[in-house]
Structure formats: C-alpha cells, structure tokens
C-alpha cells in the first residue's frame, strides 16, 4: 500500500464539506498497537497508516456513536462519515446496508485491498512487544517487521491471522474509491479450528465449550466491537424481562454466548474482531465461522457480499432445506 496515496486521499476526503470525519488507522502508543483515527481535517490525515497491524474493523463505529437529541434551534449534523475498509470490513458495511442499519449516502467508503493482516497475539508471542511503537509492512509474500530500527522478514504463514487464511474477499466489495490495485485472492485453507470441534462427540464438545464459557467475564467487548451487533436495546441489557441474568456463571455465560452467536447467524462477516478483543481468550471465531459455514453450505447464502440481497434471517424460500431441523 502506497502511504502517500493513502494520506493524500485521506486528506481530500477529510477536507470535504459533506464529510464529518474520516475513520482510518494510526500508529498506536506502544509496541504493535494500532489505534483507530478520527480524522477531522486534511492535516489529520498525515498520521494515517495501513499495514499488516491494522486488524481493527472500523465499520463498528458507524453504529456505535451515540445519537443524542438535537438541541432546540440547532440543525442535525447530516454530514457523511468516511471510513477505510479492508475486504472483511467492507462486508460489514455491505451487511449494514442490507439490513438498513446505515444508508449508502451516509458513508464514504475508501477501499484498501488487503493482502492479509497478522494475528497480533501470535506476533507478540513470537516477537515480544517493545515500548517503542513498531512498524510492519507487506513485503512481497512476506511481512516485514521494523522495530527499534531493525528489520525482520517474517513469512506470511507464520503470522497470518486465521481469519485472513480463510478469507475469500481480500478486496473490498463496496467502495467509493479504491486505494491501489486489487490484490490477488488466495485459496482459503481448511478451517481446522472448526473441524476440530466438529469432530468431537457431543459430550466432549459440551465440555470444550463449558471450559471456554466458564472464562467469560461478560465485559461484552465481543458485542461492542462487532459491527453487526448494533441493536439500540440489546437483549442482554434488558431487565424486564431479564432474558439473561447478570450472574456470571457457566449457565448464564452460555446463554449470552449462544444468544449472540444465533443473532449473528447469516450476518457475521467473519472479521474476527470478537475473538481478537476477548480478554478471556475464548475462541469466538469458531462459533461464528461454524454458523457461517452452515448457512453457506445449507442455504448457499453469504452475508455482506451483495448489497441487494435479502437479509438471510428475514427470508424464506419454499425449497429451503429442513432435513436437519429436529
């Protein structure tokens, strides 16, 4: 990715009168961290980056920002929000359009063809984080890590995030402007994580998930980071009636995680953010990918690909398969 092009485009878009701010990525405060950037003017675009460390899916901010009542005598701010998207992020935007969570003319989408990002946990494990912010680049088929002035070439296979290994849409599926040439797609590997769990018998599968959900602290970072968890009134926050108790134990944690998984069936675009942010290290991606795979295999539906699609959970065809329904 040409940084100059990225910043030039960012500056142009951020300076537009009809754009409130541009969402992009910037260097974080230490180590491998990359922080979301809210760029409000052309000058702010100078800090934008796009690198294998840019894991965050910024589409979540489209629906996360609170809509406060407009004070009497003032006009609502109807300017657009611009955002930079990788392939997976763009699927979130598309799915939001399908669900009418956002309208197309509310956003300016800048597409960043993405050769795949790193798994930040794996990176930190293999190459310990330093206090000084480090940089990373794509270097042909490999990653190039630059820390404390030293360059280390790392093979793609070593650090590529699981979601990227399985990715079929590295190029944004929706955009107003595309930065650079599309990248070549690759054959998604086997989803070993899901297959391993599928191969277990029912009892050991239950035991596996019991151990996982037992760790959940119910911080709801998975829900909040998810671009498609944007209900104004989440079922988990309801007290009257209380669908999920506040008590943190295996039973309630399971209710929470299953509720979230099912609400995302046919909607999850596999950006992997839930798994990345989970402070309890629960492999949430396995649940969502399993559901996504079932929806794809059984109904031939993929969310976040076609902005004209009918929402999966709101559509019915007489020949929908039902042989697996009890």
């Amino acid at each position: 990715m040409d940084l100059e092009l990225l910043r030039k485009t960012g500056a142009e878009v951020a300076a537009r009168d009809d754009v409130k701010y541009l969402l992009g990525w910037k260097q974080g405060t230490y180590g491998y961290r990359v922080a979301p950037a809210f760029v409000e003017n052309a000058a702010g675009a100078a800090e934008l980056i796009f690198s294998p460390l840019c894991t965050a899916n910024l589409a979540t901010y489209l629906t996360l920002v609170e809509q406060l009542p407009v004070p009497r005598g003032e006009e609502p701010d109807t300017r657009k929000v611009a955002l930079m998207v990788k392939g997976c992020d763009s699927r979130a935007v598309t799915q939001l359009l399908v669900e009418k969570g956002i309208e197309r003319d509310e956003v300016v989408v800048i597409g960043c063809p993405c050769p795949g990002v790193v798994d930040p946990a794996l990176l930190a494990e293999k190459y310990p984080e330093t206090e000084e912010p480090a940089e990373m680049k794509w270097d042909g088929e490999d990653f190039l890590l630059i820390r404390n002035g030293e360059e280390t070439k790392i093979s793609r296979d070593e650090l590529l995030a699981e979601k990227c290994r399985l990715c079929r849409y590295p190029n944004p599926v929706v955009s107003d402007e595309m930065l650079g040439e599309p990248v070549e797609t690759w054959a998604p590997g086997e989803d070993k994580g899901v297959e391993e769990v599928e191969a277990k018998d029912v009892d050991s599968r239950l035991e596996y998930w019991m151990d996982q959900f037992d760790k959940c602290v119910r911080c709801y970072s998975c829900r909040n980071v998810c671009p498609l968890c944007y209900c104004q009134d989440c079922i988990l926050d309801r007290l009257n009636p209380t669908w999920v108790n506040r008590s943190v134990n295996f039973s309630e944690n399971t209710a929470f995680n299953i509720a979230r998984a099912f609400h995302l069936a046919g909607r999850c675009i596999e950006c992997g953010e839930c798994e990345r942010v989970c402070p309890a290290n629960i492999p949430l991606g396995k649940i969502n990918r399993k559901l996504a795979r079932d929806v794809r295999d059984k109904y031939g539906f993929e969310p976040g690909v076609d902005p004209e699609a009918e929402p999966f959970q709101a559509s019915y065809k007489p020949d929908d398969p039902e042989d697996f329904i009890l």
């Binding site: 974080g28 405060t29 230490y30 180590g31 961290r33 990359v34 922080a35 979301p36 809210f38 965050a56 979540t60 901010y61 996360l64 609170e66 406060l68 984080e129 330093t130 206090e131 151990d211 760790k215 602290v217 119910r218 911080c219 709801y220 970072s221 829900r223 909040n224 980071v225 926050d237 007290l239 209380t242 108790n245 506040r246 008590s247 943190v248 134990n249 953010e273 990345r276 942010v277 402070p279 309890a280 290290n281």
Partner: protein
C-alpha cells in the same frame, strides 16, 4: 519477621500442606493464566507475568450471592463465608489494590461480604522480577517487591523462593509449613533486594501524577476527553480487569420459586450504568464515561481516601481492544493542566 527459603522442589508439597483451605493460585488453561481454586490435578504456575483477570475476586467475587430466598415464604438463607482462603502468588500491585478497595468497603459502614472474606483470606505475594511492558506501579506508590496488603511475600531467587511473613496471619501460615522451610541467610536477603532493584529499573513506562488529582476537575470541558474517548467501544474490559475497580450492581434472580439476591461487578463504561428509569442518562456518551473513569481513579478517590485508585498494573492498557492507553491519557491530562 524472619526470612526463610523454600526450595522450589518442595513447592508442590508446600501447596499440598494448605489443602484444608481453599487455595487460589495462578494456573494455565493452555492459553492464558488465571487465578482459580487449586484442584488435585491442577498445576500452580508461578513463572508468569500477570493474569489477565486480577485476583480481586478472592475478596470481591464477580458474582456474590448475598442470600437465597423462596418466593412466598419468609425463609431466607445466607451462604456462610467461613471458608479459609489462601491466595498464592499474587503480584504486589494486585495486593496493594486490595488495600485501596478496602477503604471503600470499610468507609461509612463495613461491607460484610468483603470484610468476612478478608478475615478468612491470607495473601501470599510474589515479587516481580520481570515487569510487563505497561507496568507503571512505581509511578503510583507501588513497586515490584512492595509488601503492602500482603501477609507473606515471596521472591523467586532461582533455586529457592525467598519467603517472609509480614503479618500474624502470614506467620501462622508459615508455621504450618515450617518443616519445608529453612532459614534464609544474609546473602538471600541481599539477592532479593538486588532482584527487586533490577526489576524497578526494568519498568519503562511511567506517569506523572503531581497536580493531577487537584487539576482534573478543572479539565471538565477540555477537548482532551472527546479525543481520548472517540475510539472507546464502551465495553467493560478496562474496568472488569482493573484490580481496583469495585462497582457493583444488585439483582434478584429467580428460578421457579427459588430466588437469590446477588451482587455482581458493574462497569461505569456501560451505558446502562447511569441510565435513569426516566430514560435520562447523565453520562450519555463514551466521552463522559471515559472522563469519569479517569476522574474517579485519579481525583475523586484521592479526594475521599487520599490514595490514587490505580496501581499501575497496566491491564487496561494491555487489553484495551482499541489502544486506549491510560498512560497516554494521563500525559495529555498533565499537558492540559
């Protein structure tokens, strides 16, 4: 009290001697370290940096059943809090955090749950030889071998653990395990001090707190707040993983006619935290919530209890999904003052 040594080979036996009690210790679940009750087959791991979830749950569990009752009956049952607990291998910052929340839980009235648990709990700390990247305990009154809040301090000297009782409770615990311990000589003492000095030097990040508690309220409308909170997801990671965060909610939960009144951790970063029944929310956006989190730790708590409610463990910064960095926020606060 006199310093002693515990040969590392005798560690399993040391843990075994405490089995009459409920022993909490850091264990690995394969991917992560966490504090959990030690069962028969679980292995206590002391070679760790710090757990993601702090051990504050030993005194302030995430979910506390206050009492059980039956709908339509006068029967009320309070779970006894008489189990003796030993927390092994907690870090000095986490022990110090317990002394900070202690002030709140014993403020106007004693909180019976916290106080009863505390009476029955012995805290055996482990000094840090290798502080983490975002550790800044030395900036907020702690240190890698600080003993505040601990009953016993241990330090990893290589072949042996240095072990020293700091309170009567700690002494009683070491008396029970006396046959496994040997007296420490001056060399061991010196080695321990050398290691803690070296650990202090390894701490790279720091915050400047001078003038912050008094100055923060004056920054109420400062543009720093929208800036540092814009990317906040509004999740509870920073607060739930904070060893000094102590907010809770109380709910009645029912299963048929069986009911229980529970209290559970709450987070000021959640929108419903300050939501009024009327629908009004005095902290309507993440800006107000972020501002409150910093003010509470670095100003209100200091005002009320004369101590900063942050021990510099770095968890909020390590685990924030969007790189909201408390050290950076405090730098910006200092700059704005």
């Amino acid at each position: 009290m006199s310093a002693m040594l515990l040969n590392k080979e005798k560690w399993p036996e040391f843990v075994g001697k405490l089995t009459g009690k409920n022993v909490w210790a850091p264990q690995s679940d394969g991917t992560e370290m966490r504090f959990a009750p030690v069962g028969e087959n679980e292995k206590v791991v002391l070679d760790y940096n710090n757990t993601r979830v702090p051990p504050k749950g030993a005194l302030f569990p995430q979910t506390e059943t206050m009492f059980k009752f039956e709908i339509g009956s006068d029967k009320v049952e309070e779970p006894p809090l008489d189990q003796e607990v030993v927390v092994l291998g907690l870090r000095p910052c986490d022990a110090r955090a317990m002394t900070i929340v202690d002030k709140l839980f014993k403020w106007d009235i004693d909180d019976p749950y916290f106080v009863k648990r505390q009476e029955k709990t012995t805290l055996v700390g482990l000094a840090c030889n290798e502080p983490g990247l975002n550790c800044f305990c030395t900036s907020v009154g702690g240190g890698p071998a600080a003993t505040e809040g601990l009953d016993v301090i241990m330090a990893d000297l290589g072949e042996n653990y240095f072990v020293e009782a700091l309170t009567d409770k700690g002494k009683a615990l070491l008396d029970e395990t006396r046959d496994l311990l040997e007296d420490a000589d001056d060399d061991a003492q010196k080695q321990k001090e050398k290691l803690s000095g070296e650990a202090e030097d390894k701490i790279k990040r720091s915050v400047e707190t001078e003038g912050v508690p008094e100055g923060l309220p004056g920054l109420w409308d400062d543009p720093l707040w929208p800036r540092v909170s814009a990317s906040c997801l509004g999740c509870g990671t920073c607060t739930y993983l904070c060893p000094t965060c102590h907010c809770f909610d109380i709910q009645d939960e029912t299963e048929g006619i069986d009911a229980r009144r529970c209290r559970m951790w709450d987070s000021c970063m959640f929108s419903e935290y300050t939501l009024h029944t009327s629908g009004h929310n005095p902290r309507p956006t993440r800006k107000e919530r972020t501002r409150n989190r910093i003010n509470h730790k670095y100003s209100y708590y200091v005002d009320k209890f004369d101590v900063i409610a942050c021990v510099g463990c770095g968890r909020c910064t390590n685990l924030c999904p969007v790189n909201i960095d408390i050290i950076e926020i405090l730098r910006q606060v200092k700059e704005a003052l």
